[in-house]
Symmetry: D2
Subunit: 501 residues, 4 copies
């Protein structure tokens, strides 16, 4: 998962891009980058780290220009390397830079094709670099000295024909404009909006509407599946549906965990979807455990808080913040002659005994992935004196890997993979465990926009909407993850991106 | 306000000090420092920045030794400089390092005295350096080649006789041990605890009990007002009441805002005190506004959440997280030829319209200081569609400056200074405003430990428990603040601490 | 002027490239870069600064691979920007990186052509990026999936047809090999050599033979004008004359000042050429000033020492190091409210009075460019008590700008531009001044290799061997220099290279 | 060996101190520091590295004040740690900072005494910190609130009574002035001078006169053995002989190698002393090898050049710079799985074959210490084709360790320790070897100032002028060196100085 943003403004856009990236920082804390364009010249700064650490005064001063794009990165499943920050750049045609959120499932084939067709060298493991080269190749095919919106949209159309997977991308054509496009299933989110300034109208494209809100932009709408938006450097906005086979199947996990609650995705307010998840979960509890005997509902901070408040309301049980999160987690250093110790959950959360002692507590989390943290938290609750510890997950059991850009473990690392709810409950040490039903989750989100008839729920049901994900593919990415993990000791940071120091 | 910690352990204490400082980071994000002692030699690292930014692998590797102290700093009122990180060091006698939380009110006189009596040069504006030199001078007076607990306690006694103000301090005597002491009114908090390890018992002294919890130490108790605890480097723990005039008057603002909710201060769980603040505030609302018509209670994140939950419970009104906090605030850069822009509250908080549109909302904050943020938040609530915006403060009106170590503005900057509640309500734009009554606040805390008969409530009632704070003193620190503010443009960072690069 | 190096080895070449760059550091102290290739992937590190400051352990560890190229940069005349470090990279075709020494005189036309023909965006002011794109375009024209030596040489041939100016370049074709080529006049130097290792033969291409010597490579020979050498990644070496119009006219200024004395360029040992310059200068002095009355010959350290020793020998006069060079020059800092002060020559040189007091001293420098330093040095000699100060230059009067890659001032800044020797002598304050005659300089170098019939002596005689340099061109680069100088205050470092942070 | 400087000026002295340190940088490239005093407050910056790397604009801006001292450090023999940069600071009395060049031979006893007498903790292995504490203790003894010159001189007198060894030191008394003092034998050099400015007379104290020259100060004179100079902050200069037993025995090695040739030490111009070393060496060669058959004299750059020129003159043989020094030496990096390789002399020097091929060459070095470099250079000369390689040393055989502040190996590492000239010649591979005779060396220096009747020549003759250096002491420092070397792998940088980050 990553966050992307692009702005075509009327004065320097560096500060606005920077601010937007801080608002999108929850989508990726691993690396950050901004490229701006001024008088046909590009200015780039990117590096590993948080936005606030990557950009200093001296960098910002150089990022001049009224047009630019930015990126925050979270390592993507299937990519063994963590060394590539975005935006990426190719100099032909026109000089194109691109920021990408998602994952291509046919990246190997594409990589081969662009080398064979165009002799284009791809220097990283990043599918984003491949996506950029595919787009560049298709745009070059037009051969226009000065590309217009039709050329841009034709290139996006060709990208849709060739690329498989989930992707939302923002590219800048040096000297011409900024284009945003979304995969034909609309798996990854992307919105655009505008604001009026004294110098004229400015446009922003971003992963989430909250970036628009905070910067005073007004949301126009989400890009539709397969649609592209192109804003020329003089401020003309064009949109076109570039996919013939597009149909809406957005990633439901955005609503469960990824997105900020105050974002509006595909017409659904994430916050409200989460409230409804709490409601529906409460109904299930009341249905399955009418005599639940719960004394207090306690969220695992921070994501599950919204669901948990409403769950408590519907159960008619007290909501209490029984865990305090340590907001300033540090590192564990290895001293000479010492083995590495694992950061335990104790360093991240502290239990307020008062809320646990002698009570039946219902812990609420947004989802359960590996289950290791769950287990420790339940243990903490018991040590704090809880009589019984119940656990519920606002999402169904996570049983399958994600292939559309969320960094999720491979199947065998998922605690619920091939296990029943009872087996998971026992493994994590809960007195009982309740998962949201998938229909309920879908309903909780759909109520916000009944026009969406389908979601990508692959991590829950193993159905991959792009139709090209089979056992062989899943086996290959699992192998890649394992290889990456094993070699991490000595190669982890062995790759210097070409565009970086 | 600062956070302090000291550990006498059985193996290297660097990681434990580091972890403790991250847990105490909410008490100061301005600078951090650790000094350790090994075989009579000190190892120091301190710098401006967060704990995670100040200490790198190379620093930690050098911070060897089984004994050490640490500090996180928040700039203190009355100090015009922000350049001094702690711990401080003097080499005579014994080599002493010290970390301090609080503020001395007679620092000028002390500074003069230590120069005249001992020719001791103080190189910073920090009262902590003065406190260290007073302690060092008194300890040197013993003239012992090898100081024991009596010498240490005598020195603390003399410190109490000479120093005025609020202070909790931890000092390390090179080669001998670590001593913690608390001012005779117990204004600033300090606790100590222990943990068993395979190598023996380890002791920790810290500003808040949460540092003990997270590191697996068991809280023994708070230091009493005027009391000192001395732990020798071989693990003997001694305590002694070193003040003759000690009486309990701890700072109530720790419970309102400063401390983590999961800390236990002077026998009171901060979290529970805040729940009671919510209760009592609800009672006042029901009393004064029986037909309040409130639709939803919304906290200003993060501190007020605990009070707000309970306030909502007692009002029987929905509690909702209507504001989402941006956790990754960045900087505002100044581009050439541009004026500095102020970060607005919009970049810190985003309103979820759904919770405001057409409703009577009750916003809850822990306290109101300058009122500028309040005003912007209320404006945001209105822009989000609120019908009426009510505001309540879990603490009474803040009307007086703090002189015991909390960085509070001077009187004329406090919105409630010399104003009625109605006047403040009008200034911040609230439809109505309710402050907690001071008796209720005191009661909310006291219920946790009825033995405490008095609190320092000076910011609310202008009564300074040390008895030495008069108009002249307050005028002087106000002047100092103004001078500092005015010269900040060109001198702010003009001071290099002697112990720093 | 820059230094370039490329190695195709049998194990990691990073250390060897690094060492070679330190040996070539005299050719450019402004920036440094290395790119290596391993398994079809490139690893790059480049930044402003000396070699020893640019490469740290963490960078070197990532620069893996048996093949790579490196660069040290000196800002080139005509380039207004100092922000581009090399090697440069384009990803199509194959992924090509390039390091360049020299200057193209038709860069504007080329830049336009490559955009129009190939839509290739050039993001810097660097002619090296243009050269790379021309080469890339020509190599792409072959369209081969796997290029062989013929494809490479054809591309070089096309480069020679299109590019004007002086250039020695080393390019790496990702996965295939390293190619070095030299402009058809052989203006800039480039050599290649080999060494045997236990794993097989390794090849190096470099600006100067001294890089070969120090690393234990044996000089094979200089590339001939227009010739290219291509070493495949498995160690096959191919050479081909790629120019039809090549004729030898190497830059004579390499011998005067640029090259290290222990380098062998075009068959001439620089050191020996300088000895002969001293001899010939002595003969001229004896001829023109038979009663010279010189008491001591004193070089201006460091370059002129070789000529000066031999000059003294031939005059039969003592040679003495009367000036001591300060090897650790620092910066002049600007304090608030202070005007910038110029570093005077006094901070670089200190005169030993003993060698000046009451004597007729002959100061020897390699050449006189602006004359400002000369003037100060002569003044120092007088202050040290010299009776008469004579000055001689091992090179003729510098009267014209350089357009082939040496950073020389524009014409009007050259003290000898439009002035007689006597006028220059008066301006610099010398009692008399002797310049080497151009025929003598040419002879001094040619004696080392009589096969070279012509040199580029343009800075002395204004004859530009490429035939395309006219008044209009010179006027344009002079204007560019002026513009650059004027805007330096606020834009100097305003350009971030795309490949840099 | 270190370089020290102190200035009492009429405006900010930071730039002047910085410039002076760059001029003294040859005395120590390991660390650098400056402390200034303004309005009773100290500003310090020190760190490992060259002067140009330690001080940036932000540091310089903070180093305000008209008075200050500076230091460049070379690790001293007998000190196992390399982590302490100077100046050092103690806060009592007055706040004193000190920069020291030399070595105390009774540091252990002093360290014990100052702890016992004053409970002063010394946190480093540096004898400089001990010297500072002794001085501070003695100055505190006066007990004056405002010390005058008598108090200062009394403290220096007491230092002389208690300290043994060689030392030149500059201390600053915060708010009062700067004092320089020299050990009673005058082993280490120290001079002072003045310059007139529009604001009044400014004074500088420095290790070498060249720092005065370059900054436009006029040399007043050397401090005499045991003498002190005190310059008050308002510009009054006082001097006093503070030793009763002082007698001149300056270190002769300053003239051989340490000092810059353009420095005047104890009335002797180092440059001229080196010329005379060349003369006397020539005479010895002519005496011992009348038929020497030498074709060319070649110096090992840089120090021996002065002697070699004159040696060649007196022999009537050509002087030629046959070795070219690489001025930009880099590091050798350790790649994973690779053993560390030693930098060979080949990376530092390159031989110009022309000057060696078929010739009898006389190589000249200033001295021979370990002999390892010599051996490699002679080997290079042979590989370059020399017929015979003769070697001469401008100093006698180095056979004993230095205990007065020069970082010299211990006895058993000295190639000449216990060996005859012939044995050394064989070991280094020279056809024959000639050492300067000690009487000749002494004479070469003494001719510059016949008033000096004795020199410290201990490295040549094993006679230590302080009279307290015996076998036991030498054994102890040898042991300390060995321990340090052995533990370097894991502890080398394990010490953080208290005053550093």
């Amino acid at each position: 998962m990553c966050g992307i943003v692009g702005i075509v403004g009327k004065s320097n856009v560096n500060q606005a891009l920077y601010d937007a990236l801080t608002v999108l920082q929850h989508r990726g804390q691993d690396a950050a980058g901004i490229v701006t364009c001024d008088s046909g010249r590009l200015f780039l700064r990117k590096d590993n780290g948080l936005v606030r650490d990557v950009f200093h005064q001296r960098h910002m001063q150089r990022l001049i220009g009224n047009m630019g794009i930015g990126h925050v990165r979270y390592p993507t499943a299937g990519s063994s390397s963590s060394a590539e920050a975005q935006p990426f750049y190719v100099n032909s045609p026109y000089g194109i830079t691109l920021a990408h959120n998602g994952n291509l499932t046919n990246v190997e084939q594409l990589s081969r094709e662009i080398y064979e067709a165009d002799l284009r060298h791809v220097n990283t493991n990043s599918d984003s670099e491949v996506l950029l080269n595919v787009f560049a190749h298709e745009l070059a095919g037009g051969g226009k000295l000065r590309p217009n919106q039709d050329d841009i949209f034709n290139a996006v159309r060709a990208v849709h024909n060739r690329c498989r997977g989930g992707y939302a991308a923002i590219a800048m054509i040096t000297g011409y404009g900024v284009v945003g496009f979304r995969d034909p299933n609309g798996i990854r989110p992307i919105v655009f909006g505008k604001r009026d300034t004294e110098h004229g109208v400015e446009y922003m494209i971003a992963s989430e509407s909250v970036a628009l809100d905070v910067l005073g932009f007004e949301l126009i709408r989400d890009l539709e599946p397969g649609e592209a938006v192109y804003i020329t450097n003089d401020g003309q906005l064009h949109t076109l549906q570039c996919a013939t086979n597009g149909h809406y199947a957005p990633c439901i996990f955005e609503h469960v965990y990824l997105a900020r609650p105050d974002s509006m995705i595909d017409g659904v307010l994430v916050y409200k979807a989460r409230l409804r998840m709490g409601e529906k979960l409460a109904e299930k509890i009341l249905r399955e455990r009418p005599d639940h005997g719960i004394d207090v509902v306690i969220p695992i901070p921070d994501t599950s808080r919204t669901s948990a408040v409403e769950l408590a309301n519907h159960l008619g049980v007290k909501f209490r913040e029984g865990f305090v999160k340590n907001r300033y987690i540090g590192r564990t250093f290895i001293m000479p002659g010492q083995a590495a110790r694992k950061k335990s959950v104790r360093q991240k959360l502290n239990a307020i005994e008062l809320e646990f002692r002698g009570k039946n507590v219902m812990l609420v989390d947004d989802s359960i992935v590996r289950g290791t943290t769950c287990k420790q938290i339940i243990q903490m609750a018991r040590e704090a004196g809880a009589k019984n510890v119940y656990f519920c997950s606002a999402a169904p059991a996570v049983r399958y890997p994600n292939v559309y850009g969320i960094d999720m473990p491979s199947a065998h690392e998922l605690i619920a993979h091939g296990r029943t709810t009872e087996e998971v409950a026992e493994l994590i040490g809960a007195d009982w465990l309740i998962y949201q039903d998938l229909e309920d989750l879908v309903e909780a989100v759909r109520e916000g926009n009944p026009n969406i008839t389908e979601f990508d729920c692959s991590v829950f049901d193993g159905k991959y909407v792009t139709g090209d994900v089979n056992e062989a593919y899943l086996g290959k990415i699992e192998q890649a993850r394992n290889d990456a993990a094993m070699s991490q000791g000595n190669v982890a940071s062995a790759i210097i991106d070409l565009h970086n120091n």
